[in-house]
């Protein structure tokens, strides 16, 4: 499955479905999460994906242009940063201590979070366990990096 594509995120969605007991225990989640993959090393363009969480996990993914207007918050990082995070999750059966979402976001680098206002920004914290579990599903997806 190629990253970054809608299909790759849908594969995570499918993994979450297989792991539904865990997601149900974490609780209901209502959030519009933006993931922006910034092009580097000759890649042609940035890619942005809107992940809609309106249930126990993500239930739809679409590629959008103006992600900042569509999402509650946007996690923006270079292709290489996302690649490293996914590879780390895959290699360790989950992220090691320095590759969790909050770890990568907290200092503002390498993942930058932007939002329209602070209330939207706080959505990241309110559902962090669900988001982390969702990305942890990458360990079960055969990922091909299309950079």
């Amino acid at each position: 499955m190629k990253f970054p594509t809608v299909e790759w995120f849908e594969a995570l969605e499918a993994q979450a479905e297989k792991n539904s007991d865990t997601f149900r225990r974490l609780g209901y989640c209502e959030a519009l999460v933006g993931v922006k993959v910034v092009a580097e090393n000759g890649q042609q363009r940035d890619r942005s994906f809107l992940l809609t969480f309106n249930g126990y996990s993500c239930n739809s993914v679409e590629e959008v242009d103006n992600i900042e207007h569509a999402a509650d918050f946007v996690m923006e990082a270079t292709f290489g940063t996302w690649k490293e995070m996914i590879e780390n999750i895959t290699a360790n059966g989950g992220p090691d201590l320095s590759h969790t979402l909050n770890y990568l976001v907290m200092p503002g680098v390498p993942i930058k979070v932007t939002s329209r206002d602070q209330l939207k920004d706080d959505v990241f914290s309110r559902f962090i366990s669900t988001f982390q579990e969702f990305f942890d599903g990458a360990q079960h997806v055969q990922t091909e990096f299309s950079g």
Partner: protein
């Protein structure tokens, strides 16, 4: 054989009713009353989620009144006897306690509860070098100390809030439970890996007392939900960042979720309060004055060696590298200030030109 109706147990109305029952006559007034909610069939908007408070509010009695005339515990939408006793509620106007996100936050809170016993991987707690264990335990002690204020504070005000606004009271009950769990999880962390409970400081106790004894709910809510819990949310995020094992990662991650809900309520309550206050200018001036004083505590908090040095030791990976670790403290300082100012701004109280919190850490 029917028992005799004695004078010492039943009043005259009850005796009359019992005598009627013994003759086979029932009252049945409850079947004849007007039923404001008759015919309401609230349905789950999302069957996977279930029937939410938003669903029943959408079906009936969604918007509470600005100022209900009754002071009773009877649920909004029910029929109340005219002579029902006054409960002595002092918060009888919506703007004094409401926030537009409180119903959703209540549902979110009940759906995302967790157990400090079951949901933390305690078996992954690893032995740490003494300085790191002490640093973690100093922070855990501090958090065990401060978190219950957010249980005590709502408990103090709950009985004074008109039950017409039951959603606010229900949300504050979830907050009280959240904070009980935070005390529990940090106390467990302190006592689970050899470090133990460490120092509690006078200054911290003084700040907690200020919150607990705030003269009005909105003042206390601002001090606690917006200023205090906003700061603690950043400490939780920092705690996840600095964690040295999966146990601590999970503790801080789960606490982050709870704390962010409380901050969201507080921010939106302040906004509602200011937007609906009958004398908005005065209310805004009063809240600015409160913030002027309260913010002066933040530099003191972030120059307290019992708070910043453990953070720096965890960041640096040990006391030998504490200098490097001070980067984390500067980061928390900057984040806390910016997020606090952004929340105030969102609530309609722009503090950017007025704040007493220095933009950068003085070290």
């Amino acid at each position: 054989m029917v028992s005799p109706v004695t004078d010492t147990i039943y009043n005259s109305d009850q005796k009359e009713y019992i005598e009627g029952l013994n003759r086979g006559t029932f009252d049945l007034q409850w079947l004849k009353d007007e039923r404001p909610t008759f015919g309401v069939h609230a349905k789950p908007k999302n069957p996977e989620r279930g029937l939410t408070m938003q669903d029943i509010n959408a079906a009936f009695a969604g918007e509470p009144e600005e100022a209900p005339t009754t002071r009773v515990m009877a649920p909004r939408g029910s029929i109340v006897d005219d002579d029902a006793p006054d409960m002595g509620y002092e918060y009888n106007e919506k703007y004094l306690l409401w926030s537009d996100n409180v119903v959703a936050l209540y549902e979110e809170a009940t759906a995302r509860q967790w157990s400090a016993t079951r949901d933390i991987p305690w078996d992954k707690l690893k032995k740490l070098p003494d300085d790191l264990e002490r640093a973690q335990c100093q922070i855990a002690t501090f958090l065990s100390e401060v978190e219950m204020i957010a249980s005590d504070f709502p408990a103090k005000w709950l009985w004074q809030m008109n039950q017409h606004y039951h959603e606010v009271k229900m949300f504050l009950c979830t907050q009280a439970m959240d904070e009980a769990r935070h005390l529990e999880v940090f106390r467990k962390r302190a006592l689970a890996n050899g470090g133990g409970l460490m120092r509690c400081l006078t200054g911290t106790e003084q700040f907690l007392k200020t919150i607990l004894h705030a003269p009005t709910y909105v003042q206390g809510s601002f001090l606690m939900h917006v200023l205090g819990e906003g700061l603690v949310l950043d400490i939780f995020r920092g705690g996840e960042f600095l964690a040295h094992n999966e146990t601590e990662k999970e503790i801080y991650r789960l606490c982050m979720q709870d704390e962010a809900r409380h901050v969201s309520y507080g921010t939106m309550h302040l906004k509602y309060f200011l937007e609906h206050h009958p004398d908005r200018e005065k209310a805004l001036a009063d809240m600015h004055n409160l913030a002027d004083i309260a913010e002066m505590g933040i530099p003191g908090f972030l120059t307290n060696p019992f708070i910043i040095e453990p953070l720096a030791v965890l960041m640096g990976g040990g006391v030998k590298h504490i200098d490097q670790g001070m980067d984390a403290v500067r980061l928390v300082w900057g984040r806390m200030r910016e997020e606090y100012l952004s929340r105030c701004e969102l609530a309609g109280m722009d503090r950017r030109a007025r704040t007493r919190i220095p933009a950068e850490a003085p070290y």
